[in-house]
Structures are given as C-alpha cells and as structure tokens.
Point group: C2
Chain length 643, copies 2
Amino acid sequence: MLHGGLWRQYQSVNADRTFDHVMHWLDHEGWLSNFDRVASGEPMGDRPGWVFSDSEVYKVAEAMAWEYARTGDKTLPVRLEALATRIAAAQDLDGYLNTAFGHGEQRPRWSDLAEGHELYVAGHLLQAAVAHVRTIGEGTLVRAAVRAADQLCEEFADGAREAICGHPEIEVGLVELGRALDEPRYIDMARTFVDRRGHGSLGEGNFGRAYFQDDTPVLTADVLRGHAVRALYLSAAAIDLAVDQSDTELLDAVQRQYDRTVSRRTYITGGMGSRHQDEGFGEDWELPNDRAYCETCAGIGSIMVAWRLLLATGEVRYADLIERTLYNVVAASPSDSGDAFFYANPLHQRVEGEPVDPVRANPRAESSDRAPWFEVSCCPTNLARTFASLSAYFATVDERGVQLHQYGDYVLRTPWRGGSLALSVRTDYPDDGTVVVVVEEAPETPCELRLRVPEWCEGATFRVRGAAPVDVSPGWATAVGPWSPGDRVELHLPLRPRVIEPDPRIDSVRGCLAVQHGPDVLCLEGIDLPAGWSLDDVAVDDPSSELREGMPARVSLRSRSALDAAWPYRPRVRGAAGRLIAGRATSSGEGAVSSSPGPYRETHLGPADPSGGAEDRVRVALRPYRGWGRRGRTTMRIWLPTS
Amino acid sequence: MLHGGLWRQYQSVNADRTFDHVMHWLDHEGWLSNFDRVASGEPMGDRPGWVFSDSEVYKVAEAMAWEYARTGDKTLPVRLEALATRIAAAQDLDGYLNTAFGHGEQRPRWSDLAEGHELYVAGHLLQAAVAHVRTIGEGTLVRAAVRAADQLCEEFADGAREAICGHPEIEVGLVELGRALDEPRYIDMARTFVDRRGHGSLGEGNFGRAYFQDDTPVLTADVLRGHAVRALYLSAAAIDLAVDQSDTELLDAVQRQYDRTVSRRTYITGGMGSRHQDEGFGEDWELPNDRAYCETCAGIGSIMVAWRLLLATGEVRYADLIERTLYNVVAASPSDSGDAFFYANPLHQRVEGEPVDPVRANPRAESSDRAPWFEVSCCPTNLARTFASLSAYFATVDERGVQLHQYGDYVLRTPWRGGSLALSVRTDYPDDGTVVVVVEEAPETPCELRLRVPEWCEGATFRVRGAAPVDVSPGWATAVGPWSPGDRVELHLPLRPRVIEPDPRIDSVRGCLAVQHGPDVLCLEGIDLPAGWSLDDVAVDDPSSELREGMPARVSLRSRSALDAAWPYRPRVRGAAGRLIAGRATSSGEGAVSSSPGPYRETHLGPADPSGGAEDRVRVALRPYRGWGRRGRTTMRIWLPTS
C-alpha cells in the first residue's frame, strides 16, 4: 500500500532483512527447534530460551501473514505453512500448545501462571492466526490456534480453573480471533480474563501486584501502572471488548487511564515505561531521561491502544500520538540494515557504552550500539509484525467518508456507499510538509475527506480543488465532495523547528528545552560536538530566534567550563562579580591558634567569563532522534539545558 | 564514651531496642536455627533465607562486642558466648562454616562464587571476631573465626582455588583479623583477593562485570562503579592493605576512585548508589532523587572508606563527609523506636506509599513507612554494629596531639607521650553550634589540640583559654599546649540555614536548591503542606534573605496552579501577557472546508496570576531529612524547584 518514503523504506528492510535475521536467531537460539523436539517426544528439561520464546515464533508468523497482504509475495504463504506445520506438530492431542510446560522433565501445564507466560504465548499464537485469516485465509496455523483457543477456553472457564496469566496478551488474542472467526466464546473468555484481573490472584511476585495490573480491576483503575507492555496489551483488549460489547463504562475507564498516562507518564518521544527494574511505569512525573526504559514493545503497545481509542472515539489526538510514537520510538529501534535493534529507548545516553557483540544475544541493552538479538528478544519480532502491518494505521473509512491519519505515498481504494473511492496520496513527509491527495475514483454520493492537521503544526493551509488556500489549525481539515476523478486536495504543513518546554512538574527536565521538527523530536549527539567537548557540560541559549527552516536544525551551544570540585553542592553566596564563591573567611589568630582549609575552594559555577573567547561556543546540528547512534557509538540527549 | 545528645540517643535505642528486635527476626525467619540444624546434621534443602543470611547473625554478634566496650554491660559477653556456641556448633571439622552450602541437599561448597556469598559471609564472621578480640578478648567466636580463616586461606591459596567472591567483604575481614591477631597470612590472603579482582573471573552475571568490580583491577580503576556496597567494602580493604603494606600506589588508586565518586556520584546527603536495579552507582552525574537508592549499608560502607582515608591522609574533608553521611543517611534509617528501618534513602518521595506490614518481612522497601525487616535484611544489623561502635569515629590521636572530628558529649582519655590526656567535650550539637572542650588531665609535653571546623560553617570562631575569639575557616582550628587541667577551648559554629546550589551537570536537580542547617540537609514533607497542596506543584523563591537562625527553617512556597493538560510538552510561544500559548491559528474557510481542534488547549504554565490571591503562597517548615517520615506516611523532597 505504501509506495515510497520513510515508512516504505522501513517496510522493505523489514521484509528483505529482518525476517531472515529473526529466523536465523530463532534457529540459532534453538527456539524454533523446541517445537520439533516436543513433536518428537524428547525430554525437554534442557529446553533453551525463556518460557515465552515460542511467542517470538508466533510474532514472526504474524509478520509473514501481514507481509503477504502488503506485497502479495507468493512465497510467504508457503514459508508460513511450513513454519505452521512445525508449530502444529508440537500441539498436544487436546489442543494445548507450548514448548515450555507439560512435556518430559518440564513443570506441569498452568503450574506458574504468574510468571510462566503460557497464556501470553497462546495470545500471540491467536494474533498470528488472526493475521492469517485476514490475509491468507484458512491454514494449519489457524487450525492450530483454534484448537489451542478451544482448549484454553475449556480449561479456564468459570467453574474450572478460574485464573489469569501474569502477562496480559491472551485477552487481545482471544477478542481479535473471536471477531475474525465470529466466535463469541472467545470474546466471552477474553472478557472473563479482563474481569478476573485486579483481585490479587497472582500474588505479590517480585514487584507487587501492580506489576501485572492485578492490584485494581480495569474498570476502577485511574492510570496505567506496573510493567508497561503488560498494561498496554491489557488496555488494548479491554477497548476491543468495550466496543464489541458496547460497554461505555469499560471504554471510559481505559480511556481515562490512558489519558492520564499520556499526560503524566509519557516521554516527549511518546515512549512509555520509566523504570528498568520492573520495565514499568513509575509514578506521575517520574520521567528520567538517562534511565528511561521506553521499551520498543511498549511503544508498539501504546500505538495499539491509541489506535483502538482513535477508532472508538474519533478523537484526532490519538492519531497525533500514534505519529509521535511511530517516529520517535518505533522508528528509532531498528538499524538501517534491519539486523540490530534498540530494546530500550532512553532520551539521554550519558556514555557511549560498550560495542555490542554482533554474534551473541545481548543481555542488557544499555549501549548506544544496537544489538542483533537479546536474551529476552520480544522487540525484534514485534517490530517485524508492526512494520508489515503498518499501513493499517494510515487511514480509516466511516459512513461520512475517509480520514487520513498518517502521511506517505499510498493509494487508498475502498468501496463507499455502493460506489468506489480511490485516492492517491503523495508527499515527501516528514522531509517536506506538502501532502497532495488526488481523487482517482469517486463515488456518486458526496463523501467527506478529512486530513489530520498534526498537533505540532502552526500555520497549516488547506487547498481544495484549486481554490485559494485557507488556514487550518491542528485537528481535522475537512473537505466535502461530490468528487470527480482528478480532483486535487493539498495540505501544506510548515516544518519549522519548534522549541518545546516541559510541564514544570517533570523534575528531570526542569530548565531544559527540546526541539521538534515536524513529527520528529530532535536530539544532540556527542559525535557532533567538537573535540574536547562533553554533553555533560553544554548549555543552549533560547534558540527560538535562530532556528531556521531546513534540517538539521542548528543551535548555539556553550560549554560551561565548570571547574571540577571535590564536592558538587555549594552554598549560594554571590560575590561582587556575580560569581558564586564558597564561604571562606580569612582567618587570623594568635600564635597558638591556626586554621587550615578543607577541600572547598573558590570557584564559579555560573556562565564562563564572556571574555573567555569564542572557543566556548559552537553551532551544532540537532537531528531526528530516530536516527541516533547510526553513525557510531555516541552520547546523546534530547533535552538541552538552558543557560 | 558518648554521654548525651543525638548520637547517644541512637546508641541507647540501638542497645535497648534494636538488638532484641534483630534477634527476634533472626529467630522468626529461621536464620538463627539454620546453625542448629546444620549442627544436628539435618538435611538443609528447605533452608530459609538468602544464601547470605548467616552474615546477619555475625553482624549482630559484632554489635554485641562493640556494645560491651561502650557500656561494660556484663550480660553481653554471656549472650555473645551463647550465640557463638550455636554458631560454632555448625562449623565443619575442617573449619568451613556456612549454613547455605555443603550440607545435606545443598549445593557443594564454593560452587557459586559469583552469587553464593560464602566468602562474604565469612568476612562478617571475621569482623565479628575482630570486635570480640578488641573488646572481650578470646572466646568461642574468635576460635571459630580463626578456624574458618585458616580453612579458607588454604582453600584459596595461590596454586589452589585461585578465585574470588562476587561480594567483597572477606578482604576487609581478613585484613582486620590479621591486624588484630598479628597474623600476616590473613593479610596476604586479603591482598591476594584484592589483586585477583578485576580480571573477569566471575563472569558476566546479571549486570555485567562492573557489578562486582571484576571489570578493572583496583589499581587501575578511576571511579567506584557497580553495586555500591560491594565497591565500598572492597575499597575499605584496599586502603587497609595499602597502609599496612606501605603501598602508596594502591592508596592513591582508591583515593582517586573515591574522590571522583564523591564529586560526581554522591548525593547531597552523602548517600551513594543511584540505581535500584543493581543497587549500583550510575554514571557520573546520574543522581535521580526519586529513585535514589542510597542504601543504608552503602552509607555505612562510605563511612568505612572515608574513615580509612582520613586516617591514611589526615585530610579533614573525609571527616566532613563522615559527618554528612552519618547525619543524612545513617541517622535517617532507623525509626525512633529502633524497630523499623529504611533500606533505601531517596531524596524525593513522590507518593506516600503503602503502610508497611509490621509483622512481615518487607520485599521492596519503597514506602515512606520504615519496615521492621526485609527479605534481604543487611541494613538493620549493619546499623546495629555501626551505632555500637560509633564513638570510634569521633576523635583520633597522633604524635602531634588529638584531633576531634565529630561533636557530642564525651570524655576522651588517652595516654600521650608517657603522660595522660583527658578531655571533656560538651555540646548540644547539632541543635547548638558551641563546642566546649575542658582539659581534665594534661600531659607535660605540649600537645596539639585540633577541632574540625565543618566545611559547611561560615563565621566560626575559636577561643582558647579565655583569650579573645578568633575567626577560623573550615578545616582545622588548632591550639597548642602546654595544657593544665581546667583549661578551656571553645569552638562556636554558627548554625544559620544555608541555601545550596548543585553543580549544573546534575540533571536531576537543575533549577532547584536545597537548604542545610549545620550538618543537616533539610527536606520538605508533604505532611507540612496545607490541604489541597501537592509537592508536585510547589516552587520556592530564593530564600537566602528570609532564612533566619533557629529550626525549623521556613521558606515561602508558591503553588504553580498549573492547569492539567492532555500533553505535558508545549511549544514555546509567548503571548502578549507573557503567557505561554499553544500554537493555534484561527481557521476560516469556504463552506467545503472546516477545521476542528485537537486536544491542545490554551493554557499557561508560568507562575500563577499574582492577582490569584494569597492562597497561592504559604510559609512552610523545612526539617532535617533524618527526621522524615516519622510523623506518618508522607511525600517528601530535599531539592526545591525555584520559581
């Protein structure tokens, strides 16, 4: 569907490189052959991989199905069927399918619901089957998923095993499969899982009940908390259920939680998850930049939630947030060659970190180097399925007409009120802010055409069928037909770099500003500093007046030339020259009395003496955050301290 | 030795309450009876407690020995001997002593050096024996420790098991015991352990080699890194060895590492350890307040290191740092009743947290409520031994005379150059800044008397034998004898609250200030705010001019009255009234074109309208951080945002 531009490039690299890369690692790590070994009845006591490694296989299967829809590549259903045959061979006679439990030398099925991830893994199988149904149709993977879903619905029915999984995912898998196959039992089971959550049945775990959203029922919680990916997958399922079951109370609850999360627990990149320790949300306003976790999967989870809220409410701000998260979390993760990834997406990299070993799974993911694979490797396969299905997020159709949410080169073709509508969308976005929509086929009935004017855009203009351009403000620019083939609509979005200030309650960025350019949050990389400069020591003057159109944006930096001192906290005593002087009395005394100094020496911490010379200042380039770390290991920061 | 005042109070509560409290929990958790069970030959597969729980028993034994020296309480050696008998009964015939390894159903001895803590536990046994030797003398505990030390020296000799322990502690235990018993083999073994470290022999672990200081040898490292307590215990041992072996290269190396750590990786409280995830130091300038770990044990470890550097170098700044850490980390941890503790000591508590269960070991220690015990419970016993031996840090004697480092009510009595010196020190410090020293006995030879003038003190005066007071600056105030009984020396340390500014490289406190009063870092507790106010929303005007002598210090706070918005990052666009306005063009268009807004509404983030009325401002009390959370659960912050 996407014919060119940034996202088409990501999709091509995904299909051409990442698929093979992921399959190589699944093979290399033994996560694929776990299915073969279960099928052969081998003892599995030495099974490699975490308990959830099956899910990586399912996510790449899902990616293949979406990719088939994107390109029609006929080898994909063949490869997918071969993969599905290996998967299905490991399925037990009753439908249970998991290589980590219940086979020779392993713990019994469902014996560790809090940490065992069995239902989580099944949820990814179901989502893969949904992609298969919606693109290829029937197949081995779908049959295996249905058998697995039937088995777990029986196992976890009310009156049977009334329990939930520590990691939400089965819920969204069940509701999606229930819709795809028109099977209300699956939807009911998903609802049951959602309703059972929040009552402490999982115990305390290592990080408390909130870690797996088992502290408070979904209906009554106020904010997302605990493990970010878990919270977001659960929210996605709850919205699907609320819409399916016309449950406005549930929809309102999730929307309320997500909105507060966006307003108080979300980074400027759209990233979510402030803590490494539990991969979790912190408290309101707890948004450290250097230790921001911002897991790539949480970015994807947030897009899943925002997309569902956009569909459920029609509120354009959710499309804005999808854009922000796509450009500044999802796009930041993969390397240009699609074979290395960021797992965490911090906003400040204090040290370059170690070079990453390209042939070893990475344990920690804290370097400025992208890693080929991780010991917990959820992100690469999550990216694969997201890029393959990305165009689904670009536009919607409803009874009034068509809404264009994201911009790129694509043709939208849809039946509409008995007729048929085709639009060609062309743009060099985000390098250029002009979006041209040409009507290729038009229905007879007048049809509303809505284009999102991004929240970041000031001075946008909208031009319909050659009329004079009119100003449009963020939200929707709307034009109403009737349309004829060849009709042209143009949206112009000025792309000046903009200076962004944070809410004063965010302690981590007090006294700082950031710069955005179009949908891109910009960052400063240490690699762009002159020799001898350090990102620790720089400050920026308010660049509002000096920022010009065009990229990279350039700002003036000063080096603070702070003197190193033995102790970094000093009394505020201002001397005549406005310098900060450590309190120091001159001592005098009789012969028997003397005084010698401690380690606190006179120094200044303020701006360097202006007469210090030009070497204190430099103009440096700010570039899109999504591009960081691609020119070698480096330090980096998004938020720039002001003078 | 201490007769009154703040620290005497801590010592009394420690002896009267904490000892019994700790013994109760050691019993309750089964950590004591582990020794009995090993002695009886029971299978130990179900042994309760972490692998290092024996060390808590040793630390309380050490505390009892020091406490005997403090008070002469004759029941203590009896209780200690009874405890030692239980301990020694678990000792294997060859001297190996550990209840977690090597017995029925357990892993073999030394089978998990990276994580098993066997040598760490032995190190605490040796330190307990040192306290025993230096206070009570011979005894069962000492004999057990010697047998254990002999066994491990043979086991880990060069040519035998050339390995180290993941958690340093054996090194300081061995060097201290070697000195106490004049046994060079122990000192050599300690040196061998130190020299073996830093070569990667422990593997990568969960957090990489730096976690256990196995990334770089002690001689070549530049800064403390990884797990803070481990790094500090290792440093303490290395200094002891450097002094003992006159190894200035080693001493310089540790001093260099510690000095850089103090100047770039230490909180204003003296607390060390910025990360929860690995209980570790972060990078330079990575000093989050809300997620500061500042483990109580790391504070104690830092005092151990600073004390050794003070002795080795004579530099007064190490005594300053001991004071800072004692008042603002160690003193903050225990409850007034000595039966609950902070494990972590954050500088910012965003939420009150849950009430702590007083009869259950606490898993996470993240509330504003002190907890009775922890699943990993190193801190309570570490406090017990530190308070019991606290007076050791107060003064030193050398060939020139006497140095008074810390202030309180005490009598110092020491032989000096064939004569004898006795000083009575009286003060209400830190409530009052006057310290009076009266000579009670005097040697014939003139003797230098040095009193530390704390680094925080401006305007100190010093008065010797009734002469006119003279100004003294931070460092040493020195008076030289000859002295006669009744001679009096007075140091006056003005206690005005002082405003402190951070180094601009500390991102977490940019635009903030703190207030100190004497050695106390002050904090603002949410419990002191008017109803409806939140610590998230306050800012302080520069209080330099309004701070008066006397406690609590009072500052003027403003509530920012920021409006809640859907997104907390906004473009910097200043309107006519100086308000920050989100970009928003007025739209107009022909009939077929319309524009509707996104979620970004006009708002202001700056100071509230001054006409908003007096309810926006309040004078609030700042109180010593060590006292926080003692009046009920509360939010809290040390660093106050400025306007």
